[in-house]
């Protein structure tokens, strides 16, 4: 049996999980219009492959991952492309983003799939990774980092442990819970694909102990197939145990280095829902075009979980959940601890959308913030072992250097500190603000650094070119001098050394002459004339420098 450890801090929160686990996962209805944001992952935007008016089939790739870290996007249903333009999306910034809109035809016509099923075992790692990449799979635990890139970025031999994260520690969210309860067998198959890719010695599915049904269901699935190289582990319910680094600490007792990745200590984490998507991609050749979304909270009539096509408007889900109750006051995407407020429900579901949380008025009004009394409660609960109170002090006074000294960037924005602050200070808000400011400053600095570099480079080039020109001139003159000497038929004078000296002397003289030589008629000029000349000079100077710049 594995010896579990603890991470420092964290909170015991009221789960509110039962709210949305009363019913099985429902299939959300096919909407008339699917609005699919092109950028749903961390990394580069994919390249759009379709144009307005084009017919697409379900599962057809409509935007292909560009090189590097990126993820493809597929048509979640068949229909025709009705628009490619900026639409409001669910993003903390609240800005609009490029989206592909599909007018669905209701036929749900698939493009020809070529499922591998069990034959995936004969495929090479490279082939499997390509499948995962082409399926547009990203981390579904919230980070939306392209999965293939994550798998590729580590050396498979160095990974000793694969952790499948089924902790789901945020209150209210139950999409992973329901997925584990209902589709344990498929998750296990997905995990086996990952195992083949990694050759890890140990594979662990970690689930918080407030989800006994999910634990049981996975254990049964493993037993039925007599799989003994995957372990299901029940871990204590404590927020944020689902954070990658916290989870690793709980399971292995090891801390991932602050600036490092789990792979540095031989561990790779994947979310259960991601493993499930891998199963769909490899076994069924289905790209990531749907996900499970929890619709829950205190202001919805029939909370539950839905299997939703990406691009479905959230308002459709609300409607299918029996609509809002009268006391609806706000909407959050994600959980109450780390989710962000939405300005409207007319936004598409994305790969990152694990939960739509309805709020009543009390949840949306935070009590007025009072002065920090330095009680240290925030310090006690910080899982990153920071000093939130001092961070707050420096972030609010814009002393960003000191904030960075106090490891601002190790803050995982879990929200524990804000949640316990008796003065109701929105601490995380300040950290986010400071981080954005610092990034902006960094960018500025980089820009000016670049500019300075460009400038220095240019100076160097000009100097170099000048030197070259002079050298050419010198050679030419030397040649001339030599020729002259030869023509004069004085063999004695053809001594190259002497010629060089003479040439040098000539150069010096020429330079001197040039320096002493004055433009004519420049004495006794009126001021106006002088100014005109100056202007002309400047103009010339400018054109010269422009030319040089070219």
């Amino acid at each position: 049996m594995l010896q579990l450890s603890k991470f420092k801090g964290g909170l015991k929160l009221d789960g509110h999980k039962h709210v949305s686990t009363m019913h099985a996962i429902k299939q959300a209805r096919l909407p008339e219009k699917l609005v699919i944001p092109v950028q749903q992952h961390i990394g580069l935007a994919p390249e759009i492959l379709v144009s307005v008016g084009e017919q697409v089939l379900k599962g057809q790739c409509i935007a292909r991952a560009s090189d590097g870290i990126s993820a493809s996007i597929h048509a979640p249903s068949s229909g025709h492309i009705s628009a490619i333009d900026e639409q409001p999306v669910a993003h903390p910034s609240g800005l609009a983003a490029l989206c592909i809109t599909i007018q669905t035809d209701g036929k749900e016509q698939w493009c020809e799939p070529s499922p591998l099923a069990e034959s995936y075992r004969e495929r090479s790692n490279k082939q499997l990774l390509n499948i995962i990449r082409d399926a547009g799979i990203v981390g579904l635990g919230g980070a939306t980092f392209p999965t293939a890139a994550k798998l590729q970025s580590c050396e498979p031999e160095k990974i000793q442990m694969l952790i499948i994260n089924g902790a789901e520690c945020e209150p209210y969210i139950t999409c992973d819970d329901m997925l584990m309860r209902e589709r344990a067998k498929d998750i296990v198959l997905g995990v086996q694909v990952l195992q083949q890719l990694l050759t890890a010695d140990q594979t662990i599915i970690a689930i918080e102990d407030n989800k006994p049904e999910a634990i049981l269901s996975l254990q049964q699935a493993l037993q039925k197939q007599a799989i003994d190289n995957i372990q299901v582990i029940s871990i204590p319910t404590r927020y944020p145990t689902g954070g990658e680094k916290q989870l690793i600490k709980v399971i292995t007792g090891k801390e991932v280095p602050a600036n490092g990745r789990p792979a540095d200590i031989g561990i790779l984490c994947q979310n259960v829902a991601t493993a499930y998507s891998v199963y769909r991609a490899v076994f069924l050749d289905e790209p990531l075009i749907s996900r499970i979304v929890t619709v829950t909270g205190d202001a919805i009539n029939q909370p539950g979980n839905f299997e939703v096509l990406i691009g479905t408007p959230m308002s459709e889900l609300i409607e299918q959940s029996g609509g809002y109750t009268d006391n609806i006051a706000g909407l959050v995407m994600g959980g109450p601890m780390m989710g962000f407020s939405l300005p409207s429900d007319n936004l598409p579901v994305t790969k990152a959308c694990n939960c739509i949380l309805t709020q009543i008025a009390e949840d949306t009004q935070s009590p007025p913030a009072q002065a920090c009394i330095r009680c240290g409660e925030c310090t006690d609960v910080c899982p990153a072992n920071l000093l939130p109170q001092q961070l707050y002090w420096y972030c609010s006074s814009k002393n960003f250097d000191r904030a960075q000294d106090l490891h601002l960037f190790d803050c995982i924005e879990c929200g524990c500190c804000s949640a316990v602050c008796p003065s109701h200070i929105p601490l995380v808000h300040y950290y986010r603000f400071a981080k954005t400011e610092i990034w902006a400053q960094e960018k500025e600095r980089q820009k000016s650094d670049n500019a300075r570099q460009r400038h220095e480079f240019r100076e160097a080039r000009i100097a170099h070119e000048k030197a070259e020109r002079e050298e050419k001139l010198r050679l030419k003159k030397e040649m001339l001098a030599k020729k002259k000497a030869e023509e004069a038929g004085q063999p004695g004078d053809s001594d190259p050394k002497k010629a060089a000296i003479e040439a040098a002397l000539a150069r010096v003289k020429a330079k001197k002459d040039a320096a002493t030589e004055k433009p004519k008629n420049t004495d006794n000029l009126t001021e106006q004339q002088q100014q005109k000349i100056n202007e002309a000079d400047q103009r010339r100077q400018r054109t010269i420098s422009k030319d040089e710049a070219k």
């Binding site: 420092k8 280095p257 602050a258 109450p336 780390m338 949306t364 072992n385 190790d410 003065s423």
Partner: protein, 350 residues
């Protein structure tokens, strides 16, 4: 449907606030206060009334001047806590103006001069206490004999006359009702080249000696400790500061006691004398002026313990709690600076 009340995550905040914390601190003070009332009588009640009314009036006036929201700040109850701590620390027969001055200084100089709650580097109650301690040393040493050994305990009317009108009952003199505290008495005793073992020969002093420490005081301290432990259980205060304070005071006094028990008091006497438990659980734990890092808090508490011992033993004042607390308040920013914990995943770095 549109929503325009975007809040920043987390969308869960605790329901209670500073005022609930302060209220619990006030509740935890009750047992010790009752014990004090039992041993020292009505003077304490008058002290409390004076301190509380002055504190609230001053706070309200300042808030008005600074154009701050009156209600929410007054309701945070922090001024009330300051007033109560001060009233409990001052001698129970202190003339009314002494308490008024102490409270005024506590709220004005100790708190609002620096910007109010949260910004004061010094413990406000201790600022007020030190001001009167330095200005009126004589008044500050007049303690009563604990009621259990006091043949002439004053009733409410007599106490009132004494505190507000400086009128003693006709049959009494100052000397007959007042007494030095045990610590003060022992200090005197030792300064006259007597040994501790000869305490018994001094009738007045030996009456003050109780089972753990001084008569009455041992109970008062036990009750304050009980209140403090309750606060600790309710997670209102952090264990580190009281732990640091009590451990360091015990250790230092133990070392000296073992070296020479004729000159130095036992750790037990130290721990249960004067306002040690009040200081450890209620005064030093004022978070605003204390250190905030976990390790820093232990150091902060320990520093107070050491200073208390030094001032008690060699200082010119009978008890050094207030000075010790202020001294460590001064050191708190420095302690914080050097005790930043290693962030997650940075433990192995230097």
């Amino acid at each position: 449907m549109h929503f325009n009340n975007a809040t920043s995550s987390p969308h869960m905040m605790r329901d209670d606030g500073i005022s609930q914390l302060m209220l619990q601190v006030l509740i935890a003070l009750i047992p010790g206060t009752l014990a004090m009332f039992y041993f020292f009588g009505w003077g304490l009640v008058f002290n409390l009334i004076i301190a509380i009314s002055v504190a609230i009036a001053t706070e309200a006036a300042v808030l008005k001047l600074r154009k701050r929201a009156l209600k929410s700040t007054l309701l945070d109850l922090s001024a009330l806590v300051t007033a109560c701590l001060l009233a409990l620390a001052l001698p129970p027969l202190a003339p009314w103006w002494l308490t008024v001055i102490a409270t005024l200084f506590a709220i004005l100089l100790g708190k609002h001069l620096y910007g109010g709650l949260g910004f004061n580097p010094f413990n406000p109650a201790m600022v007020g206490y030190v001001v009167v301690m330095i200005s009126f040393p004589r008044e500050m040493t007049f303690w009563l004999l604990p009621s259990t050994i006091n043949p002439a305990a004053l009733n409410i009317g007599e106490t009132f006359n004494l505190m507000f009108l400086s009128q003693l009952p006709a049959t009494m003199s100052w000397d007959s009702i007042s007494s030095a505290t045990l610590l003060d008495g022992i200090k005197n005793h030792l300064s006259q080249d007597h040994l501790l073992s000869s305490l018994a020969s001094n009738q007045q002093l030996s009456a003050l000696v109780g089972k753990l420490s001084g008569t009455g005081w041992e109970w008062i301290n036990l009750f304050f400790m009980a209140g403090g432990l309750w606060l600790f259980k309710k997670r209102i205060i952090d264990w580190r500061i009281p732990f640091g304070l009590l451990t360091s005071l015990s250790l230092v006094s133990l070392v000296f006691y073992l070296i020479n028990n004729e000159q130095y008091l036992s750790p037990l006497t130290h721990l249960f004398s004067g306002g040690i438990m009040l200081a450890a659980f209620f005064i030093a734990t004022d978070p605003v002026s204390a250190s905030t890092t976990p390790r820093g808090r232990i150091i902060f508490g320990a520093g107070i313990g050491v200073f208390i011992f030094i001032i008690r033993q060699w200082g010119g004042y009978p008890d050094g709690i207030a000075f010790a607390v202020l001294l460590m308040n001064m050191a708190a920013p420095l302690i914080d600076y050097y005790t930043v914990p290693a962030a997650f995943g940075k433990r192995d770095e230097p």
